[in-house]
């Protein structure tokens, strides 16, 4: 027998409270009488039994039975037979790496899953699912119990957050569509409610935890070689903590700092003046429940030399950018663009031209043709006045827009989602958008050539968009699970994972998407290597105190599940009502639940 609402069984603990009214009632009423002469033989001297005589009437036991039956009915008992076709969904998100008395939660979950498998009837089959990176079946074919236990043992937790799915719906759907007699979900989230087919097995308990929730390496500016690092430390506990934060570069400790983090607060710590390294790691020295989030990784920011590929029919205008320190420009004509090697460029500038599809590098489109997919230019206007701009924004800082008057402009009509950064009464003059982490900027005017002080507003704007693209070079790393864009893959290219595993890249690979573990991914390309940082981004995984409960609202069971569950709470309820009627019949003056009943019949 099982209970769909086992919480209600806690009500049984309250049953002894039923004694209270009887004990209160049993406390004799003190009455003065003229003489006790005629009571002496039948009465009991008070000193003989100070606590009185506990003489529970039969109605007490009737009420006790009535309440017990009611509680049992509320707890929704069901008789079940051993299911033979079940599914086990194992939560393998990052929080399952949290330690419970030195043992990862995933191990506890595996034990629970193995225990469920062990209870399977003969000939039972198991389908095993994991929740991250998405809800997927571990093996295509159903597993027998032995295979299932082996498969459970092979499951590892990923450094990913929980997928945002409605488990109630998903589990019910699984049971309905795949005809599972029962679906077990083993997780570290508590559950509310049960359904006839879905069971949630919760492992782990609330724990305090500290986590590095942010880490970024950046330069002060494009032309500044000085590196700065900033990290955010979150305290998911109810007490203040003082911890040591260590900055490492390629495995070597570069700096360390003590930081105090208040309960439920986040503290920032920054480091400056440290040696440039290919990759960085910030770590906190905290022996807390989840070691995974005590580290965070970042790669060195893009080189302070921004290499630009300019696609223009007017090379002279582009060459003026070379006067900006740290900028190198390669110019190709629009016709040669498709044939050119585009890797290694931090920015592609399309001057009066645009490719058929947006490039994989950040790109600036200056007065693109009408077929441009991001924004279509409108009719030309002269001396366009700027009527609005986004502020604060890297693109608009330091600009006196009353002086920015492009002599020739074609207001833009955005064709995709993005920000209109600068606009004129006739339409957008600057339209910024971002796709898969790549920034694109479309201009309805031409800020080039770069004339320095001679055209200060345009020069400032030029420096602004270079900074804007430069900062998108990204040194803070991306979330685990975010694919690594590979670009053109040469034979022999290898990707080394944080665990040291090597993946041979093939030319048909556009992305490497199995970035499920936190750390530095190294791509070898000939003699050079590129680094990518991936970090756990889901702070919910770090907050181990009160995981979001899984609400099982009890959708209708499928037909097959009805065959293994026999719910008999209605019978218990009927029995309770019958008892209530019996009690009502026995004691017509019964008050609500019988608690208030007083025997007044003799008090006339």
């Amino acid at each position: 027998m099982e209970f769909l609402n086992p919480t209600a069984l806690l009500g049984l603990l309250a049953l002894p409270l039923l004694l209270v009214p009887y004990l209160i009632r049993k406390k004799p009423r003190r009455l003065v009488f003229s003489s006790l002469l005629l009571f002496m033989e039948a009465g009991i001297p008070a000193s003989g039994r100070p606590w009185g005589r506990i003489n529970l009437p039969p109605i007490f036991f009737l009420q006790l039975l009535l309440l017990a039956l009611l509680i049992l009915a509320i707890s929704e008992p069901v008789f079940s037979v051993r299911p033979t076709n079940i599914a086990i969904v194992l939560d393998n998100s990052a929080s399952m790496q949290a330690l419970e008395d030195g043992k990862p939660r995933l191990s506890l979950a595996k034990e629970s899953a193995s225990s469920v498998i062990g209870e399977l009837g003969a000939g039972g089959t198991v389908d095993l699912y994991v929740t991250t990176p998405r809800l997927t079946k571990v093996r295509v074919a159903p597993l027998d119990p032995v295979e299932a236990k082996a498969a459970v043992g092979a499951i590892t937790a990923l450094d990913l957050g929980d997928p945002s799915i409605d488990y109630d719906n998903v589990l019910s759907q699984l049971a309905r569509e795949r005809r599972y007699e029962r679906v077990y979900f083993v997780t570290d989230h508590p559950a509310r409610g049960q359904t006839p087919t879905s069971r949630v097995i919760t492992v782990g308990r609330a724990q305090h935890n500290l986590a590095v929730t942010g880490f970024e390496i950046h330069r002060a500016s494009l032309v500044n070689a000085r590196l700065e690092a900033s990290a955010k430390i979150a305290n998911f506990s109810d007490r203040d903590e003082k911890i040591k934060v260590v900055l490492k570069g390629s495995g070597t400790t570069l700096a360390s700092r003590q930081v105090a983090v208040g309960a439920d607060k986040t503290a920032s710590v920054s480091f400056e003046e440290f040696a440039e390294q290919p990759s960085y790691e910030v770590a906190i020295e905290a022996g807390d429940a989840l070691p995974l989030d005590n580290h965070r990784f970042a790669v060195a920011p893009a080189s302070r030399h921004l290499q630009i590929l300019a696609v223009t029919p007017r090379p002279q205008a582009m060459m003026s950018l070379k006067s900006i320190p740290g900028i190198s420009v390669d110019v190709v004509s629009p016709a040669e663009y498709e044939k050119s090697e585009r890797t290694g460029y931090g920015l592609e500038i399309f001057h009066f031209s645009a490719p058929a599809v947006p490039p994989q590098n950040p790109a600036l489109f200056i007065l693109p043709p009408g077929s441009h997919s991001l924004a279509k230019p409108g009719a030309p206007i002269s001396n366009a006045a700027v009527s609005g701009w986004r502020e604060p924004h890297t693109l608009t800082r330091y600009i006196n827009f009353s002086l920015l008057r492009p002599t020739y402009a074609r207001p833009l009509k955005p064709q995709s989602a993005g920000d209109v950064v600068i606009e004129s009464p006739n339409g957008a003059l600057a339209f910024a958008t971002e796709r898969q982490g790549v920034r694109y900027l479309t201009l309805g005017f031409d800020p080039l050539p770069f004339l320095g002080r001679e055209n200060l507003p345009m020069s400032i704007f030029t420096l602004n968009f270079i900074d804007w693209f430069f900062e998108s070079g990204g040194s803070s790393g991306q979330a685990t699970g975010e694919p690594i864009r590979l670009g053109s893959v040469q034979p022999g290219d290898v990707l080394t994972t944080p665990a040291g595993g090597q993946v041979s890249l093939k030319p048909e690979f556009g992305y490497f998407s199995a970035t499920f573990y936190q750390g530095i991914y190294r791509r070898g390309r000939g003699g050079k290597s590129e680094l990518y940082a991936r970090n756990l981004q889901d702070t919910n995984e770090s907050d181990l105190r009160a995981p979001a409960p899984i609400e099982l609202r009890g959708t209708a069971p499928n037909s097959s599940s009805a065959s293994v569950l026999f719910s008999f709470w209605p019978y218990l309820l009927a029995a309770s009502l019958l008892l209530l009627l019996i009690e009502w019949f026995i004691t017509p003056r019964m008050a609500f639940f019988g608690f208030g009943r007083r025997r007044l019949s003799g008090a006339a």
Binding site: R25, K26, K27, P28, R29, R30, L31, V32, F33, S34, S35, L36, L37, L38, F39, M40, E41, A42, G43, I44, P45, A46, S47, R49, G52, R53, N55, R598, R599, L600, S601, G602, A603, A604
Partner: protein, 297 residues
């Protein structure tokens, strides 16, 4: 101001009554009760031979005509009566309240006292409390002393436990004239307590009447069913009692048996006995029940 039952009509009716005694007492003054002495009342007692000096008015001339011998008629002496009314003033007489038990008891006592006073006899009220405590009034005579009787009765402060025989003994020590003794009590005491008390009254050659006073709440207790801690109003002793319809019946059987024992004992030793349940009409009790037991002529 007399209490409510003592209306002019009620008093007028009381004046028609005379206390009856079954004994002859030596009175102090001429009254209406027989005395063992010969006197000058209208009630013929005997004849004796004439002796010189006898009052010729008492010669029976009829006997002389028939026997030629001189006899004089002698008459009984009629004297006044000394009555003692003992009122139980223990704590139990205050249950369930003074108004419901002691006041009716004192009304009975006052009615009896008025009957005595209206016949120009002497009445003395005694309050019985504890073993030796208790007060007694002076002898009252004449209707005008009714107010004094009432003042004395109402001044009683109830309390204590009554031990009947010692309490009566204390009062009887100061008793000089025999007469009528009326004991008003609830008699809620064991036989071993009330029997010595009544015997003590007998030993003082008193003509005794016992009136048992019980309140309705004592006859039919209105306890709620269930476990009770009953406290004795006199001793403060406490017992636990499971009260229900069965125990109610049991109690009433015990009470009836207890009252029967008192009645039997009183009959055995020649004491007028009557039970007065206080919710009963006083005039009905005084004019119907008390004459029926021979307390009034």
């Amino acid at each position: 101001m007399l209490p409510e039952p003592f209306t002019p009509d009620f008093l007028t009716q009381l004046e028609t009554l005379r206390l009856r005694t079954r004994k002859e007492f030596l009175g102090g003054h001429t009254g209406s009760y027989s005395s063992p002495r010969r006197g000058t009342s209208l009630e013929f007692a005997d004849y004796r031979k004439y002796s010189p000096g006898d009052d010729l008015r008492y010669l029976d001339w009829g006997i002389y005509a028939r026997t030629d011998r001189l006899y004089v008629k002698i008459f009984r002496e009629e004297v006044d009566l000394f009555a003692y009314i003992f009122i139980d003033a223990s704590a139990s007489m205050g249950f369930p309240s003074r108004e419901k038990k002691f006041s009716p008891a004192s009304h009975v006592a006052l009615a009896l006292a008025y009957v005595i006073l209206a016949n120009h006899d002497h009445v003395k009220l005694h309050l019985l409390q504890g073993q030796t405590n208790g007060s007694a009034s002076q002898f009252y005579r004449g209707r005008r002393r009714m107010a004094d009787c009432m003042d004395f009765a109402t001044s009683a402060v109830l309390g204590g436990s009554l031990d009947l025989a010692p309490a009566l003994g204390e009062h009887l020590k100061r008793l000089r004239r025999p007469g009528k003794a009326i004991l008003i009590s609830d008699f809620l005491m064991p036989a071993a307590a009330y029997q010595p008390g009544l015997n003590l009254l007998r030993s003082f050659n008193l003509d005794i009447a016992a009136i048992q006073i019980l309140s309705r709440e004592e006859v039919e207790p209105a306890f709620p069913n269930g476990s009770l801690a009953l406290v004795d109003s006199e001793t403060q002793g406490e017992i636990r009692y499971q009260w229900n319809s069965a125990s109610r019946g049991d109690y009433q059987t015990r009470l009836a048996h207890h009252n029967l024992e008192i009645r039997s004992f009183c009959h055995q030793i020649g004491i007028h006995y009557s039970l007065y349940v206080t919710d009963r009409d006083l005039s009905d009790f005084v004019f119907a029940t008390l004459p029926a037991i021979g307390l009034f002529k």
